[in-house]
Protein backbone atom coordinates (compact mmCIF):
# COMPACT_ATOMS: atom_id res chain seq x y z
CA UNK A 1 0.00 0.00 0.00
CA UNK A 2 2.83 2.31 0.93
CA UNK A 3 4.55 1.38 -2.29
CA UNK A 4 1.40 2.20 -4.33
CA UNK A 5 1.15 5.60 -2.65
CA UNK A 6 4.78 6.35 -3.63
CA UNK A 7 4.35 5.32 -7.28
CA UNK A 8 1.14 7.10 -8.04
CA UNK A 9 2.42 10.72 -8.10
CA UNK A 10 5.49 9.58 -10.03
CA UNK A 11 3.32 7.91 -12.67
CA UNK A 12 1.15 11.02 -12.86
CA UNK A 13 4.25 13.18 -13.32
CA UNK A 14 5.52 10.85 -16.02
CA UNK A 15 2.22 10.95 -17.88
CA UNK A 16 2.08 14.72 -17.54
CA UNK A 17 5.62 15.03 -18.85
CA UNK A 18 4.74 12.82 -21.84
CA UNK A 19 1.85 15.11 -22.67
CA UNK A 20 3.98 18.25 -22.27
CA UNK A 21 6.77 16.72 -24.33
CA UNK A 22 4.30 15.96 -27.11
CA UNK A 23 2.83 19.48 -27.21
CA UNK A 24 6.20 21.16 -26.96
CA UNK A 25 7.38 18.93 -29.83
CA UNK A 26 4.38 19.82 -31.99
CA UNK A 27 4.85 23.55 -31.29
CA UNK A 28 8.58 23.38 -31.95
CA UNK A 29 8.11 21.43 -35.20
CA UNK A 30 7.12 24.56 -37.13
CA UNK A 31 10.23 26.40 -35.92
CA UNK A 32 12.46 23.38 -36.60
CA UNK A 33 11.29 23.29 -40.21
CA UNK A 34 11.69 27.07 -40.64
CA UNK A 35 15.12 27.25 -39.01
CA UNK A 36 16.39 24.14 -40.81
CA UNK A 37 15.33 25.30 -44.27
CA UNK A 38 16.62 28.87 -43.83
CA UNK A 39 19.81 27.68 -42.07
CA UNK A 40 20.63 25.18 -44.82
CA UNK A 41 20.04 27.81 -47.51
CA UNK A 42 22.16 30.43 -45.70
CA UNK A 43 24.99 27.92 -45.35
CA UNK A 44 25.17 27.90 -49.16
CA UNK A 45 24.62 31.60 -49.86
CA UNK A 46 27.19 31.79 -52.64
CA UNK A 47 26.22 28.57 -54.41
CA UNK A 48 22.56 29.57 -54.34
CA UNK A 49 23.36 33.23 -55.27
CA UNK A 50 21.18 34.41 -52.40
CA UNK A 51 23.09 37.68 -52.11
CA UNK A 52 22.54 38.55 -55.77
CA UNK A 53 18.92 37.44 -56.04
CA UNK A 54 16.60 40.38 -55.50
CA UNK A 55 13.07 40.26 -54.20
CA UNK A 56 10.42 41.65 -56.54
CA UNK A 57 7.40 41.05 -54.34
CA UNK A 58 5.63 44.33 -53.56
CA UNK A 59 4.26 42.75 -50.39
CA UNK A 60 7.73 42.04 -49.00
CA UNK A 61 9.19 45.35 -50.23
CA UNK A 62 6.31 47.19 -48.52
CA UNK A 63 6.80 45.09 -45.39
CA UNK A 64 10.44 46.22 -45.26
CA UNK A 65 9.39 49.81 -45.95
CA UNK A 66 11.49 50.05 -49.11
CA UNK A 67 10.10 53.03 -50.99
CA UNK A 68 11.81 54.58 -54.01
CA UNK A 69 12.79 58.23 -53.59
CA UNK A 70 10.24 60.70 -54.88
CA UNK A 71 12.94 63.15 -55.96
CA UNK A 72 14.05 61.89 -59.39
CA UNK A 73 15.90 64.12 -61.82
CA UNK A 74 17.23 63.45 -65.28
CA UNK A 75 19.38 64.84 -68.08
CA UNK A 76 18.54 64.27 -71.73
CA UNK A 77 21.64 63.48 -73.83
CA UNK A 78 20.68 62.76 -77.44
CA UNK A 79 18.30 59.79 -77.34
CA UNK A 80 19.34 58.82 -73.84
CA UNK A 81 17.97 59.98 -70.53
CA UNK A 82 20.37 59.81 -67.62
CA UNK A 83 18.40 59.78 -64.37
CA UNK A 84 19.31 59.85 -60.72
CA UNK A 85 17.19 57.95 -58.22
CA UNK A 86 18.82 58.64 -54.90
CA UNK A 87 22.51 57.85 -55.44
CA UNK A 88 21.75 55.29 -58.16
CA UNK A 89 22.14 56.45 -61.72
CA UNK A 90 20.25 54.99 -64.67
CA UNK A 91 21.02 54.91 -68.37
CA UNK A 92 17.43 55.10 -69.61
CA UNK A 93 16.01 52.35 -67.37
CA UNK A 94 19.21 50.35 -66.74
CA UNK A 95 21.20 51.04 -63.59
CA UNK A 96 24.84 52.03 -64.17
CA UNK A 97 26.78 49.80 -61.77
CA UNK A 98 29.90 51.99 -61.74
CA UNK A 99 28.09 55.06 -60.47
CA UNK A 100 26.75 55.53 -56.98
CA UNK A 101 26.95 59.20 -56.06
CA UNK A 102 24.96 62.39 -56.62
CA UNK A 103 24.52 63.14 -60.33
CA UNK A 104 25.66 66.67 -61.18
CA UNK A 105 25.15 66.81 -64.94
CA UNK A 106 25.40 64.98 -68.26
CA UNK A 107 26.38 66.19 -71.73
CA UNK A 108 27.30 64.82 -75.13
CA UNK A 109 30.93 65.67 -75.86
CA UNK A 110 33.32 64.41 -78.55
CA UNK A 111 31.20 61.34 -79.44
CA UNK A 112 31.02 60.49 -75.74
CA UNK A 113 28.34 60.84 -73.12
CA UNK A 114 29.98 62.54 -70.14
CA UNK A 115 28.44 62.21 -66.70
CA UNK A 116 29.54 64.26 -63.73
CA UNK A 117 29.04 62.59 -60.39
CA UNK A 118 30.49 63.73 -57.10
CA UNK A 119 34.30 63.66 -57.50
CA UNK A 120 34.35 61.92 -60.87
CA UNK A 121 33.63 62.19 -64.57
CA UNK A 122 32.35 59.05 -66.27
CA UNK A 123 32.85 58.77 -70.02
CA UNK A 124 30.56 56.44 -71.97
CA UNK A 125 30.15 55.53 -75.61
CA UNK A 126 26.76 56.39 -77.09
CA UNK A 127 25.86 52.70 -76.52
CA UNK A 128 26.41 53.02 -72.79
CA UNK A 129 29.79 51.25 -72.54
CA UNK A 130 32.13 52.79 -69.98
CA UNK A 131 35.19 54.28 -71.65
CA UNK A 132 36.90 55.75 -68.64
CA UNK A 133 36.39 56.94 -65.11
CA UNK A 134 38.28 60.14 -64.29
CA UNK A 135 38.93 61.34 -60.77
CA UNK A 136 41.18 63.77 -59.00
CA UNK A 137 44.31 61.90 -60.12
CA UNK A 138 43.37 62.69 -63.74
CA UNK A 139 42.98 66.38 -62.90
CA UNK A 140 39.20 66.51 -62.50
CA UNK A 141 38.54 69.60 -60.34
CA UNK A 142 37.25 69.08 -56.83
CA UNK A 143 33.78 70.23 -55.84
CA UNK A 144 32.10 69.94 -59.23
CA UNK A 145 28.75 71.70 -59.39
CA UNK A 146 27.79 71.79 -63.07
CA UNK A 147 28.81 70.43 -66.45
CA UNK A 148 28.45 72.13 -69.82
CA UNK A 149 29.85 72.83 -73.27
CA UNK A 150 31.59 76.10 -74.18
CA UNK A 151 30.80 77.91 -77.47
CA UNK A 152 34.23 76.68 -78.68
CA UNK A 153 33.10 73.08 -78.13
CA UNK A 154 35.17 72.39 -75.01
CA UNK A 155 33.94 70.63 -71.90
CA UNK A 156 33.17 73.12 -69.13
CA UNK A 157 33.05 72.45 -65.42
CA UNK A 158 31.85 74.79 -62.72
CA UNK A 159 33.65 73.70 -59.55
CA UNK A 160 33.98 74.95 -56.00
CA UNK A 161 37.04 77.08 -56.77
CA UNK A 162 36.24 78.35 -60.24
CA UNK A 163 35.58 77.30 -63.82
CA UNK A 164 37.56 74.77 -65.84
CA UNK A 165 37.63 73.67 -69.45
CA UNK A 166 39.28 70.79 -71.25
CA UNK A 167 39.40 69.21 -74.69
CA UNK A 168 38.42 65.72 -75.87
CA UNK A 169 41.62 64.16 -74.48
CA UNK A 170 40.76 65.22 -70.91
CA UNK A 171 44.49 65.61 -70.22
CA UNK A 172 44.80 69.33 -69.51
CA UNK A 173 42.45 71.42 -67.43
CA UNK A 174 42.45 75.21 -67.84
CA UNK A 175 41.14 77.28 -64.95
CA UNK A 176 39.29 80.58 -65.53
CA UNK A 177 37.41 82.96 -63.30
CA UNK A 178 34.33 82.95 -65.52
CA UNK A 179 33.20 80.78 -68.37
CA UNK A 180 30.36 81.06 -70.84
CA UNK A 181 28.85 77.65 -71.47
CA UNK A 182 25.64 75.81 -72.20
CA UNK A 183 25.25 74.17 -68.80
CA UNK A 184 23.33 70.90 -68.64
CA UNK A 185 20.00 71.29 -66.87
CA UNK A 186 18.08 68.69 -64.94
CA UNK A 187 14.59 67.85 -66.16
CA UNK A 188 11.62 66.13 -64.60
CA UNK A 189 11.30 62.62 -66.11
CA UNK A 190 8.03 61.61 -67.75
CA UNK A 191 5.49 59.88 -65.45
CA UNK A 192 6.03 56.56 -67.28
CA UNK A 193 9.82 56.74 -66.89
CA UNK A 194 9.47 57.82 -63.26
CA UNK A 195 7.31 54.76 -62.47
CA UNK A 196 9.70 52.39 -64.28
CA UNK A 197 12.71 53.87 -62.45
CA UNK A 198 11.02 53.64 -59.08
CA UNK A 199 10.14 49.99 -59.72
CA UNK A 200 13.69 49.27 -60.87
CA UNK A 201 15.12 51.00 -57.78
CA UNK A 202 12.84 49.06 -55.43
CA UNK A 203 13.73 45.82 -57.21
CA UNK A 204 17.37 46.13 -56.18
CA UNK A 205 16.66 47.08 -52.59
CA UNK A 206 16.16 43.69 -50.97
CA UNK A 207 18.12 40.47 -51.42
CA UNK A 208 16.89 36.95 -50.77
CA UNK A 209 19.78 36.52 -48.34
CA UNK A 210 18.46 39.41 -46.19
CA UNK A 211 14.95 37.90 -46.10
CA UNK A 212 16.27 34.44 -45.13
CA UNK A 213 18.54 35.93 -42.45
CA UNK A 214 15.62 37.84 -41.01
CA UNK A 215 13.38 34.77 -41.13
CA UNK A 216 16.09 32.74 -39.40
CA UNK A 217 16.55 35.28 -36.61
CA UNK A 218 12.89 36.31 -36.42
CA UNK A 219 13.79 39.94 -37.22
CA UNK A 220 11.40 39.93 -40.15
CA UNK A 221 8.67 40.42 -37.51
CA UNK A 222 10.61 43.09 -35.65
CA UNK A 223 11.88 42.79 -32.08
CA UNK A 224 8.89 40.59 -31.15
CA UNK A 225 9.97 38.12 -33.82
CA UNK A 226 13.40 37.87 -32.21
CA UNK A 227 11.76 37.04 -28.86
CA UNK A 228 9.58 34.47 -30.64
CA UNK A 229 12.67 32.72 -32.00
CA UNK A 230 14.24 32.98 -28.52
CA UNK A 231 11.14 31.26 -27.15
CA UNK A 232 11.48 28.56 -29.82
CA UNK A 233 15.09 28.02 -28.74
CA UNK A 234 13.92 27.58 -25.13
CA UNK A 235 11.32 25.08 -26.38
CA UNK A 236 14.09 23.10 -28.12
CA UNK A 237 15.99 23.07 -24.85
CA UNK A 238 12.94 21.86 -22.90
CA UNK A 239 12.30 19.25 -25.57
CA UNK A 240 15.85 17.94 -25.30
CA UNK A 241 15.75 17.85 -21.48
CA UNK A 242 12.31 16.24 -21.27
CA UNK A 243 13.22 13.78 -24.04
CA UNK A 244 16.38 12.64 -22.27
CA UNK A 245 14.58 12.48 -18.92
CA UNK A 246 11.72 10.39 -20.37
CA UNK A 247 14.15 8.08 -22.13
CA UNK A 248 16.08 7.57 -18.87
CA UNK A 249 12.93 6.98 -16.87
CA UNK A 250 11.58 4.47 -19.38
CA UNK A 251 14.90 2.64 -19.49
CA UNK A 252 15.00 2.43 -15.68
CA UNK A 253 11.39 1.16 -15.57
CA UNK A 254 11.96 -1.55 -18.19
CA UNK A 255 15.12 -2.69 -16.37
CA UNK A 256 13.19 -2.92 -13.11
CA UNK A 257 10.48 -4.95 -14.88
CA UNK A 258 13.08 -7.30 -16.32
CA UNK A 259 14.69 -7.74 -12.89
CA UNK A 260 11.33 -8.59 -11.34
CA UNK A 261 10.62 -11.23 -14.03
Amino acid sequence: MTRHKHRKPSARLLKSLYIWHRYIGLTAALFVILLTVTGLALNHTEELSLDSTHIGSDLLLDWYGIDAPEDISGYVVGNTTISAVGYDIYWNTVRIPQASAPLLGAVKFADLVVLAIKGQLLLFTSDGELVERLGGAAGVPAGMQALGITPAGELAIHAAHGYYRTDENFLEWHETTSLEADWSRAIEPSPALRTTLQQAWRGTGLTLERVLLDLHSGRIFGSRGVYLVDAAAVLFLLLAISGVWLWGKRRATSRAHRRRQ
Partner: protein, 180 residues
Protein backbone atom coordinates in the same frame (compact mmCIF):
# COMPACT_ATOMS: atom_id res chain seq x y z
CA UNK B 1 57.99 38.94 -11.99
CA UNK B 2 56.88 35.73 -13.60
CA UNK B 3 53.82 36.06 -15.85
CA UNK B 4 51.11 33.51 -15.43
CA UNK B 5 50.16 31.60 -18.57
CA UNK B 6 46.49 32.03 -19.37
CA UNK B 7 45.21 29.26 -21.68
CA UNK B 8 43.41 30.56 -24.77
CA UNK B 9 44.50 34.17 -24.27
CA UNK B 10 46.46 34.28 -27.53
CA UNK B 11 43.47 32.88 -29.42
CA UNK B 12 41.17 35.42 -27.84
CA UNK B 13 43.53 38.28 -28.74
CA UNK B 14 43.75 37.01 -32.33
CA UNK B 15 39.94 36.92 -32.59
CA UNK B 16 39.74 40.47 -31.18
CA UNK B 17 42.40 41.72 -33.62
CA UNK B 18 40.57 40.08 -36.55
CA UNK B 19 37.23 41.54 -35.36
CA UNK B 20 38.75 45.03 -35.13
CA UNK B 21 40.42 44.57 -38.52
CA UNK B 22 37.05 43.60 -40.09
CA UNK B 23 35.35 46.55 -38.44
CA UNK B 24 37.70 48.98 -40.20
CA UNK B 25 38.08 46.89 -43.37
CA UNK B 26 36.36 49.20 -45.85
CA UNK B 27 37.77 52.55 -46.67
CA UNK B 28 40.17 54.76 -48.55
CA UNK B 29 43.67 54.02 -47.33
CA UNK B 30 45.31 56.45 -49.74
CA UNK B 31 43.81 58.58 -52.49
CA UNK B 32 45.08 57.92 -56.03
CA UNK B 33 46.40 61.52 -56.11
CA UNK B 34 48.46 60.96 -52.96
CA UNK B 35 49.75 57.62 -54.28
CA UNK B 36 50.95 59.23 -57.52
CA UNK B 37 52.50 62.15 -55.65
CA UNK B 38 54.37 59.69 -53.42
CA UNK B 39 55.71 57.43 -56.16
CA UNK B 40 56.82 60.38 -58.31
CA UNK B 41 58.34 62.33 -55.39
CA UNK B 42 55.65 64.98 -55.32
CA UNK B 43 55.53 65.84 -59.04
CA UNK B 44 53.72 63.21 -61.08
CA UNK B 45 54.07 63.56 -64.86
CA UNK B 46 51.08 64.37 -67.04
CA UNK B 47 48.85 61.33 -67.54
CA UNK B 48 48.83 59.35 -70.78
CA UNK B 49 46.13 57.09 -72.11
CA UNK B 50 46.00 53.58 -73.51
CA UNK B 51 43.00 52.21 -75.38
CA UNK B 52 42.07 48.65 -74.62
CA UNK B 53 41.42 47.42 -78.10
CA UNK B 54 42.56 44.68 -80.46
CA UNK B 55 45.15 42.28 -79.04
CA UNK B 56 45.63 44.40 -75.88
CA UNK B 57 41.98 43.99 -75.04
CA UNK B 58 42.09 40.26 -75.80
CA UNK B 59 45.14 39.74 -73.59
CA UNK B 60 43.70 41.77 -70.72
CA UNK B 61 40.48 39.77 -70.99
CA UNK B 62 42.50 36.54 -70.79
CA UNK B 63 44.43 37.77 -67.74
CA UNK B 64 41.33 38.89 -65.83
CA UNK B 65 39.02 36.17 -67.06
CA UNK B 66 36.58 38.85 -68.22
CA UNK B 67 36.62 42.22 -70.01
CA UNK B 68 38.11 45.13 -68.09
CA UNK B 69 35.50 47.57 -66.95
CA UNK B 70 36.68 50.43 -69.20
CA UNK B 71 37.81 50.95 -72.76
CA UNK B 72 40.58 53.39 -71.95
CA UNK B 73 43.15 53.41 -69.16
CA UNK B 74 45.18 56.31 -67.86
CA UNK B 75 48.77 55.88 -66.71
CA UNK B 76 51.66 58.02 -65.55
CA UNK B 77 55.19 57.41 -66.79
CA UNK B 78 58.72 58.67 -66.38
CA UNK B 79 61.80 56.98 -67.90
CA UNK B 80 61.20 53.20 -67.69
CA UNK B 81 58.73 53.51 -64.86
CA UNK B 82 54.93 53.47 -65.23
CA UNK B 83 52.21 53.89 -62.60
CA UNK B 84 48.69 52.54 -62.96
CA UNK B 85 45.48 53.06 -61.05
CA UNK B 86 43.44 49.93 -61.76
CA UNK B 87 40.22 48.48 -60.42
CA UNK B 88 38.96 44.92 -60.18
CA UNK B 89 35.99 43.43 -58.40
CA UNK B 90 36.85 41.04 -55.57
CA UNK B 91 33.41 39.66 -54.81
CA UNK B 92 30.93 42.48 -55.32
CA UNK B 93 32.80 45.75 -55.15
CA UNK B 94 35.79 47.18 -57.07
CA UNK B 95 39.16 47.26 -55.31
CA UNK B 96 41.17 50.33 -56.37
CA UNK B 97 44.90 49.68 -56.53
CA UNK B 98 47.97 51.68 -57.34
CA UNK B 99 50.69 49.73 -59.15
CA UNK B 100 54.16 50.85 -60.21
CA UNK B 101 56.19 48.90 -62.77
CA UNK B 102 59.87 49.71 -63.16
CA UNK B 103 61.88 48.24 -66.00
CA UNK B 104 59.39 45.39 -66.43
CA UNK B 105 59.44 44.45 -62.74
CA UNK B 106 56.80 45.15 -60.14
CA UNK B 107 58.05 47.92 -57.90
CA UNK B 108 55.02 48.64 -55.72
CA UNK B 109 51.45 47.47 -55.40
CA UNK B 110 49.16 49.16 -52.92
CA UNK B 111 45.46 48.80 -52.16
CA UNK B 112 44.12 52.36 -52.23
CA UNK B 113 40.38 51.91 -51.78
CA UNK B 114 38.77 48.72 -50.46
CA UNK B 115 34.99 48.50 -50.61
CA UNK B 116 34.29 44.81 -49.89
CA UNK B 117 33.19 43.62 -46.46
CA UNK B 118 35.83 40.86 -46.32
CA UNK B 119 39.34 40.31 -47.57
CA UNK B 120 40.89 43.66 -46.67
CA UNK B 121 43.95 41.83 -45.30
CA UNK B 122 45.38 42.09 -48.81
CA UNK B 123 46.25 45.70 -48.06
CA UNK B 124 48.93 44.74 -45.54
CA UNK B 125 52.60 44.89 -46.58
CA UNK B 126 53.16 41.24 -45.48
CA UNK B 127 50.99 40.33 -48.48
CA UNK B 128 51.74 43.06 -51.04
CA UNK B 129 55.53 42.85 -50.58
CA UNK B 130 55.45 39.33 -52.03
CA UNK B 131 54.91 40.95 -55.43
CA UNK B 132 57.99 43.18 -55.27
CA UNK B 133 60.30 42.38 -58.16
CA UNK B 134 57.77 40.07 -59.85
CA UNK B 135 57.91 39.76 -63.62
CA UNK B 136 55.63 38.23 -66.24
CA UNK B 137 56.48 34.92 -67.82
CA UNK B 138 55.99 34.35 -71.54
CA UNK B 139 52.52 32.99 -70.73
CA UNK B 140 51.65 36.18 -68.82
CA UNK B 141 51.83 34.51 -65.42
CA UNK B 142 53.75 35.82 -62.42
CA UNK B 143 57.25 34.37 -62.17
CA UNK B 144 56.74 33.45 -58.50
CA UNK B 145 54.28 31.86 -56.12
CA UNK B 146 52.18 34.29 -54.06
CA UNK B 147 50.94 32.94 -50.73
CA UNK B 148 47.18 33.46 -50.36
CA UNK B 149 45.23 34.57 -47.31
CA UNK B 150 42.48 32.31 -46.05
CA UNK B 151 39.13 34.06 -46.12
CA UNK B 152 40.36 36.55 -48.72
CA UNK B 153 40.59 34.25 -51.74
CA UNK B 154 38.66 36.49 -54.13
CA UNK B 155 40.51 39.65 -53.11
CA UNK B 156 43.87 37.86 -53.44
CA UNK B 157 42.90 36.64 -56.91
CA UNK B 158 41.78 40.14 -57.93
CA UNK B 159 45.07 41.69 -56.79
CA UNK B 160 47.19 39.03 -58.53
CA UNK B 161 45.28 39.62 -61.76
CA UNK B 162 45.70 43.40 -61.51
CA UNK B 163 49.45 43.00 -61.01
CA UNK B 164 49.63 40.73 -64.07
CA UNK B 165 47.56 43.25 -66.02
CA UNK B 166 49.79 46.19 -65.05
CA UNK B 167 52.94 44.23 -65.93
CA UNK B 168 51.42 43.37 -69.29
CA UNK B 169 50.20 46.92 -70.00
CA UNK B 170 53.67 48.25 -69.16
CA UNK B 171 55.11 46.15 -71.99
CA UNK B 172 52.66 47.86 -74.36
CA UNK B 173 53.88 51.36 -73.56
CA UNK B 174 56.80 53.13 -75.23
CA UNK B 175 58.42 53.45 -71.82
CA UNK B 176 59.11 49.70 -71.60
CA UNK B 177 61.82 50.14 -74.21
CA UNK B 178 63.32 53.42 -72.99
CA UNK B 179 67.07 53.36 -72.57
CA UNK B 180 68.13 52.96 -68.91
Amino acid sequence: MKHQYIPGLKGLLLVLVCACSTAVARGTYQTPEDFLAEVFSGSPPAPETMWLQGDVREQVTEILGHRYNALRIRYWAKNRRTAWILEEIGKDQPITTGIVVNDGKLETVRVLIFRESRGSEIRHPFFTEQFNGAELTDRHQLDRHIDGISGATLSVRALKNLVRMALYLHTRTDYANDPP
